[in-house]
Symmetry: C2
Subunit: 514 residues, 2 copies
């Protein structure tokens, strides 16, 4: 079948899977001599609309040489094939993309305007239906970062993100608990521990987590190395009904899908704006049916939140937006001055989790203590009675093995425990000098783990052998570096060579005892 | 030759021109089973560095099926081929893209920070050497829009943009004149008229113009329909030495190349921020060697500058930044409340220009009057003596035919007059009702001309048969619409059907005389 013009200025062509993975932005490919190009004035980068059956997408046009496509055909990138739900050879209709009305609202925000509920709904609706180009999403995120959203806008954004996707609800439960950590502290993987303890105490905790945005691992990345996390809605319901909890990836169940599309660009730009952060976190919680949410805000010089004052401001914002959206939020400010645990990266963090749950002697004590403190906050939130009693209860649940039993039940319900892979390339970094570790730069340590391949390569990352306060000799190993490819190992070590001061060492004082 | 790993973690592959036009963002294509992909951890959207001889580029990776590329080869998009200056079959080296230090400065600006001279230099340097992705340029432009650059930043940005490209100088001339209009008024194409008059009076006016950013035509688009505008530096020098002026496109001579790369994204996002605007305009003028610049700022409800106060603020900014950059700037606020001239779009505006220069009886009077007023400003700027005398001189130069002679000399020196093309599709829009035209929405009128295909299709656009204040009958033609394709005509008329109130009509009052 060949290219045909329809009466109303649209054209039909046959689909070819052109075999190109353009990541999330749908791209359509037309021949330079295609009739539709000259008739419609299409050129490279034109936005076009494609319709196949009941599916309709917008795509960016690339123009290709004659050798790449037969006449009368349009090539689609992999994401465009998937979104249009098209089969090779299927007939699609092509026309100019309509003017997206919500782009006027985006421009209003670019120029410093305040957006209404309707305007934010329109933007988020268009993003979640894949109508925005990457440059438009980048523009939106950039002008919303840096405290440029007021509280009403953040509330609107949160609600719009909730409405953009599916919602879970938990009939028969009037309190549904959740926790979230703002992140920025490498290795601080408490969620699976807290969920195990709190749900072992009988409280509902259906936990959906995100993957890393700018860090070497998110809880979903870590859990992915231990079990199945891409569960459907029905499967999640079943896991939660069986065990009282789950530890799954939120993206697979289409909760707040706009958020996932935005996170991809936040990741590429390495930004994480405050309003966007609050809306992203709370929209996932609300969509997951939570009623009571604990937010953990680490504060430190080299994490996202750098001062107690900034932490309190963010905490107040979380509580206020939560209230406006109908949920109860409690925030705790925690120590973000140093890494927590030994492992950094999905698999290495999973090893730490298992060690704490199994009460192994070598388990990282800081990770254990801080998970207990957070679990105590949630138990107090759920039961009242004060933090001291709640902490005692948390310790008892962990030490009795109940938490480990409960973790295994959850893993079992999600599909069973996977063996943890070993990284193909390992390297031990000696200190090279004598001294005491005065500080560790969380940000650069995280970057080192990312350059080693985390989180995309699950076994990539670091294992810290030292932490702040430790004395080192020249041959003391600072960390082991794990990579799945030689290129990444090379790249990470090159970065470390230029950033050795991420471990700040104080020279050993004369006469100081070792 | 096949894929080879070099000792330092880089790989060599042979180049294939994959025949895909991805517009300005360089894209590289690797097979999914390519050794370099698995060894280096490359996936779709990874940023990679390619080196061929002395050329080095960054590109975004797309992963392709085996059928599209032979083993050991890397496909390059057209812009990547051009930037790398690579021949098919040539050997290129591939590795991870280095961390771009200037992205830290971009993030600082995203979070509301103030950028230093060095930081803006680094950003503009990386943009002009094609190291930024489109999403990064979009982010930078978005967070600089809406008065988010202070004066010092705009000065730094202007200087950085000047330094990013070539510079012209005019030995033997201590005053070099230029003019620029902020735009937003459809049909307001005074530059070629002003340049002809002022240079006929003996003042040096080497005019480099831009193409349209968000309007249906820029001066370069209009001049392109009349003569050659893509001149090399040496050719421009020759035209100016021969005639005392030129009317060329600035982009072809690599003046402020970063600006051209940013304008492409501004165009796609349909934004035009104030600081960016001042830096863009002044950097082109400074790079072109101008010493005295007249800035025309139209003010009206439906143009870029909406109030006298905003106009004065922008004027003050232009003067201040100009001064800091070492040039003299004069600004005039003009009437932006209604379209000027009859034609909108490159060719239709060219017809108006010729009519005014040739003193034809049907020439648009408003275009003539306003060009004379601007020419008078420049003559006064150059010679002193007051605006009244200057205007008389401008009128004399136009009416004597000297301006038309001078225009022809310039055109001749640039390569001769081209015949103006006729649009293939024409449509006359009747008013449909009785009344008086109370207002015309410049913004929507411009969009109508753009939907008809302007400026990419030069003969596309509008010819207005009426303007504000005119009385119309149902069969009075409001405008003729010109398109080069049926699709664009259809698309534009569909937009007009939904936006008839871009012509605001007052019903004829009973007893009112016609």
């Amino acid at each position: 079948m060949s290219e045909q013009q329809l009466p109303d200025g649209e054209y039909t062509l046959n689909v070819v899977d052109i075999g190109i993975d353009t990541h999330q932005e749908p791209v359509a490919f037309l021949r330079e001599d295609s009739h539709v190009c000259s008739a419609e004035g299409f050129s490279a980068n034109t936005r076009i609309e494609l319709t196949a059956g009941s599916h309709r997408i917008l795509a960016t046009l690339n123009i290709v040489d004659r050798s790449l496509l037969p006449q009368g055909h349009v090539g689609l990138s992999k994401i465009a094939m998937a979104q249009l739900d098209a089969e090779p050879g299927e007939v699609v209709t092509i026309g100019h993309a309509p003017v997206l009305e919500s782009l006027a609202a985006l421009r209003k925000k670019i120029y410093g305007g305040v957006l209404s509920d309707n305007e934010l709904n329109a933007i988020i609706g268009d993003i979640s239906s894949h109508q925005y180009r990457d440059i438009e999403i980048a523009s939106f995120l950039s002008v919303c970062a840096g405290n440029r959203l007021n509280t009403a806008e953040i509330v609107s954004l949160t609600n719009a993100m909730v409405h953009s996707g599916k919602r879970l609800n938990w009939p028969g439960h009037d309190k549904v608990f959740d926790k979230h950590c703002i992140g920025g502290v490498p290795g601080y993987r408490t969620t699976p521990l807290v969920v195990s303890i709190v749900s072992a105490a009988g409280h509902l905790m259906p936990k959906t987590s995100s993957r890393a945005i700018t860090s070497p691992a998110g809880t979903a990345d870590t859990m992915d190395t231990l079990t199945q996390v891409n569960l459907h809605l029905e499967e999640i319901r079943q896991v939660v009904n069986t065990t009282g909890a789950c530890l799954v990836w939120g993206g697979a169940v289409n909760l707040s899908p706009a958020d996932d599309l935005m996170i991809r660009i936040e990741h590429a730009l390495d930004i994480d704006g405050e309003g966007q952060l609050v809306a992203s976190v709370l929209s996932k919680k609300i969509a997951a049916g939570s009623t009571h949410v604990l937010i953990d805000i680490p504060v430190g010089e080299t994490v996202k939140v750098r001062s107690q004052a900034a932490g309190r401001r963010l905490a107040a914002l979380f509580v206020k937006v939560g209230q406006a959206c109908g949920i109860t939020v409690r925030c705790v400010l925690t120590d973000g001055s140093r890494p927590v645990g030994h492992g950094i990266g999905p698999v290495e963090e999973a090893r730490d989790l298992l060690a704490v749950l199994q009460c192994q002697p070598g388990a990282p004590r800081d990770l254990r203590e801080r998970s207990l403190a957070l679990a105590a906050q949630l138990l107090d939130f759920a039961e009242g009675g004060g933090l001291t009693a709640a902490r005692e209860k948390a310790v008892a649940i962990l030490e009795s093995g109940d938490a480990w039993q409960q973790f295994q039940r959850i893993i079992q319900a999600q599909g069973g425990l996977k063996p943890l892979p070993e990284a193909g390339f390992q390297y031990q970094q000696p200190a090279g000098v004598c001294g005491r570790i005065a500080a560790i730069d969380n940000r650069r340590l995280a970057r080192l783990a990312k350059l080693a391949g985390a989180p995309f390569s699950p076994s990539a990352g670091l294992r810290l052998n030292v932490n702040v306060g430790d004395r080192v000799e020249p041959d003391t190993v600072l960390f082991s570096l794990f990579s799945e490819t030689r290129g990444e190992q090379h790249y990470a070590l090159e970065y470390y060579a230029g950033n050795r001061d991420m471990f700040r060492l104080q020279a050993a004082q004369e006469g100081e005892s070792p």
